[in-house]
């Protein structure tokens, strides 16, 4: 087990280097001259104002953007490996600080959204499976299809309209309190709940037809005990896989929801940094997101062995 973890951590470094190299070189092939964009967004503060050629040259020189790409990348990599992710062009603050300051908001939103999706999705999926082909199943399945089809931005605005404007229960936007967390997490959680419900249903249908469940029924156990203690544990393994991917995705930020609710998370930081070509922040976010994604996957892989003793790591 320990060997496996160490191996995965070793791979993590390679993944981070690969991801940052890929993003770094791709950034230079997207439209727009990097120093020109930096001049507009960061120094002038208005994308519609053209910078002078002298200013663009000066900025290019100041940030070493006039050097070959490979030199720029390895210079960044060598600093990063020593723990220095650089400073943001925009704020002049260390990139790590920029990320860390947004981390609590990002984690809070990710965790609560996942909880919302589990609380809604798993019971719906189980009910739909147990009552297969009943009206309840159709309602749950239709609800899941609708849930997964609703665009986030539409649902977000609808929720604001209903809960903030008509019912006056929640704030429209912002962060800092539990109330602020309600609508963004419901928005994100609903779409994921739909996926969770569908997956739980199909997985549950498979499990409840297996011999050991039939045996449990034969022993005269109650249906609730069969579902909760015997079937659910195995049925949830694929659900956990999906949830882990969703978790990795959420920890990388959710741009649309963060924008609509003015939620200051990592996603918005990254998107703003890409627009402004704040290269150190982009690279920092990629490092962070890659680590998050790989770590969550590792944790989930480890959790399989707890949920299903048949799964063991023999490395």
């Amino acid at each position: 087990m320990l060997k496996s973890i160490l191996k995965r951590l070793g791979i993590l470094i390679l993944v981070v280097v690969g991801a940052t190299a890929l993003v770094f070189f791709m950034l230079h092939y997207i439209p727009g001259e990097t120093p020109d964009v930096i001049a507009r967004y960061i120094f002038i503060g208005n994308i519609e104002i053209e910078p002078s050629n002298e200013d663009v040259a000066l900025i290019s020189q100041y940030y070493d953007l006039d050097k070959p790409l490979i030199v720029q990348y390895f210079s960044w990599l060598s600093e990063s490996l020593q723990g220095n992710l650089g400073t943001s062009y925009k704020t002049g603050q260390p990139v790590l600080d920029e990320i860390v300051i947004r981390l609590p908001a990002t984690i809070k939103l990710a965790v609560v959204s996942i909880l919302v999706s589990l609380i809604i999705g798993i019971p719906l999926g189980i009910v739909a499976a147990i009552k297969q082909n009943s009206i309840l199943d159709y309602v749950c399945s239709t609800g899941a299809v609708i849930g997964v089809s609703i665009p986030n931005f539409w649902l977000a605005l609808l929720l604001i309209l209903v809960f903030s404007i008509y019912l006056d229960l929640t704030p429209v936007m912002g962060s800092g309190s539990v109330e602020h967390l309600i609508l963004p997490s419901i928005t994100l959680g609903t779409g994921m709940a739909a996926v969770t419900a569908r997956l739980t249903r199909s997985s549950m249908l498979e499990v409840i037809r297996q011999d050991y469940v039939r045996t449990a029924r034969g022993k005269g156990l109650s249906e609730i005990t069969i579902v909760v203690r015997h079937a659910m544990k195995n049925a949830l393994i694929p659900v956990i896989t999906i949830i882990s991917l969703e978790m990795g995705h959420l920890l990388g930020g959710t741009v649309i929801v963060e924008t609509i609710f003015a939620w200051p998370g990592i996603g918005k930081l990254l998107i703003d940094a890409i627009s402004q070509r704040d290269l150190p922040v982009i690279q920092g976010c990629v490092v962070f997101m890659t680590i998050m994604y790989v770590s969550v996957n590792l944790i989930v892989d480890l959790s399989y062995s707890i949920l299903d003793p048949r799964i063991r790591y023999e490395m």
Binding site: G45, E50, I101, D168, P171, M173, P264, K268, D272
Partner: protein, 482 residues
């Protein structure tokens, strides 16, 4: 200061320049505001579309000036005239030196007195940390004469310096402003509101009343600015809920809806903001032909755009983007009225005819198919581009609308027939006509991306900028407009 009267110089690029009205504030009794919760009597909550990110004046001077924390040596009045700010007067010493006299007894928020040392510190720091500020101001250096007198040395003779000193990013702050690692984290200014704190985690900037403000005590006790509310609908709904008192760039048409609600008092302020069509490249076909450019100007129904896209908030500028009330605006200018027949006639004279009867004009086998590029950040731009697209269709021009990031558009402007449908980039960042004209029409102007070249215009613009006598400057631009 130079007074310049502008006429039809705008035909080269400005086809539709409509003054938008986009600031929006609502007052409501609905809901329990934060003010009531914490017992503060006068509190204003603002939703700002852009993120705040930094409070270092070298990078965020414009933001801090907009929110009345930091001030400039000269001020621009609502009618765009120039008045003394932290400076009480200014005079020209020689062709490249302006002497500025500071007002006495102006106190910073930390109760220390404003002196030339702070002014020099601010200019030197701003220009060092942000090279674009030096370029925009045209200042070479600032030299202390005594505690209340400073000399502004320019690169070349520049009559626009007093106006440039009102530029929102030429802000003055105390040398005692608190720095960390070379970045100012607590700016100390002279404005009506004091910087209290900036919470980067929530993107909220908090200001408080400056009881000792030199120009009268402000009525508000606290101002809270929530940055990064990028979604226009969110800003509108926050106003409706009563969470926010003031915002900019609400969704088009939202004010009409809120006006019908008796709980709201909607106040709309005019802004100097233009919408226009920029030809991609004037030296290439089809826009190297003035008849084509004029035809396009006649083909755009500007009145319809103001009525249907801008909800009647704005007016046709007839040429340049100078708003009504500016002293150098030529109010007699008639511009190019909507006249599709004339547009067709001009295109025919330029050799564009529909020879294959497919509804699209052609010339030497080349169909008149163009692209209108615009970007999504300004709510009016995409519908405006689509309206222009349908109006072009009426005269036989097939236009495709492409909405993309600004930086991606710049590289496409050399394509055949490219037009940029743009907004913002106001003419009044610095209240002097030469600033805007030079940027746009001088052959080396920063914003002259369409490649307009005219040696006579270059000469007149340079002459106007370096002429300190108003009458002579007027004469320069008089010739220029012909």
């Amino acid at each position: 200061m130079i007074k310049i009267n502008i006429n039809s110089i705008g035909i080269w690029i400005a086809l539709v320049t409509i003054m938008g009205v986009v600031v929006f504030s609502g007052c409501t009794d609905k809901g329990e505001s934060d003010t009531a919760k914490i017992g503060i009597e006068q509190k204003l909550v603002i939703a700002e579309p852009w993120g705040i990110s930094s409070v270092d004046p070298a990078m965020a001077g414009g933001t801090l000036n907009n929110f009345l924390v930091l001030e400039t040596l000269t001020f621009m009045e609502p009618d765009f005239s120039l008045v003394p700010g932290l400076a009480k007067s200014w005079e020209l010493i020689d062709d490249t030196t302006w002497r500025v006299h500071l007002k006495n007894n102006i106190k910073f928020h930390d109760n220390t007195e404003l002196t030339v040392d702070d002014v020099k510190f601010s200019f030197d720091r701003n220009m060092e940390k942000n090279p674009t500020i030096r370029g925009e101001l045209g200042i070479k250096s600032v030299e202390k004469i005594d505690d209340y007198t400073i000399d502004i040395i320019t690169e070349k003779p520049d009559a626009a310096i007093p106006a440039a000193l009102s530029y929102a990013r030429a802000v003055i702050y105390s040398k005692n402003s608190i720095e960390r690692d070379g970045i100012i984290i607590k700016p100390i200014g002279t404005g009506p509101f004091k910087f209290e704190k900036f919470d980067k985690a929530t993107d909220i900037l908090e200001l408080s009343k400056n009881e000792n403000y030199w120009n009268g005590v402000p009525k508000l006790d606290t101002v809270l600015i929530q940055g990064g509310v990028g979604e226009a609908s969110t800003r509108e709904l926050a106003i409706e809920k009563g969470e926010v008192d003031f915002t900019t760039e609400p969704p088009l048409g939202s004010t009409e809806r809120l006006k019908t609600n008796p709980e709201f008092n909607v106040i709309i302020h005019p802004l100097c903001q233009g919408y226009k069509l920029n030809f991609g490249n004037l030296s290439k076909a089809p826009y190297d032909d003035i008849k084509v450019r004029k035809a396009i100007a006649y083909a755009v129904d500007k009145e319809s755009i103001v009525e249907h896209i801008l909800y009647e908030r704005g007016e046709i500028s007839n040429g340049m983007g100078f708003v009504p009330g500016i002293e150098w605006r030529n109010n007699d200018l008639v511009g190019y009225p909507y006249d599709p027949l004339k547009a067709k006639q001009l295109l025919k004279e330029a050799g564009w005819e529909d020879t294959n009867h497919d509804g699209i004009l052609d010339k030497d086998g080349k169909a008149f198919k163009i692209t209108l590029y615009t970007w999504p950040q300004r709510p009016a731009l995409p519908p405006l581009a689509e309206t222009v697209q349908s109006q072009f269709k009426e005269i036989g021009i097939n236009a495709e609308v492409r909405i993309m990031d600004w930086s991606a558009i710049k590289e496409r402007l050399n394509e055949w027939g490219a037009i940029r449908v743009s907004g913002g980039a106001t003419c009044m960042r610095i209240p002097d006509p030469s600033y805007y004209l030079e940027r746009n029409f001088h052959s080396e102007g920063n914003s002259n991306s369409y490649g307009y070249k005219n040696e006579e215009v270059d000469r007149l613009l340079e002459e106007g900028r370096s002429t300190f006598d108003n009458k002579s400057a007027m004469a320069c631009t008089g010739k220029c407009r012909k």
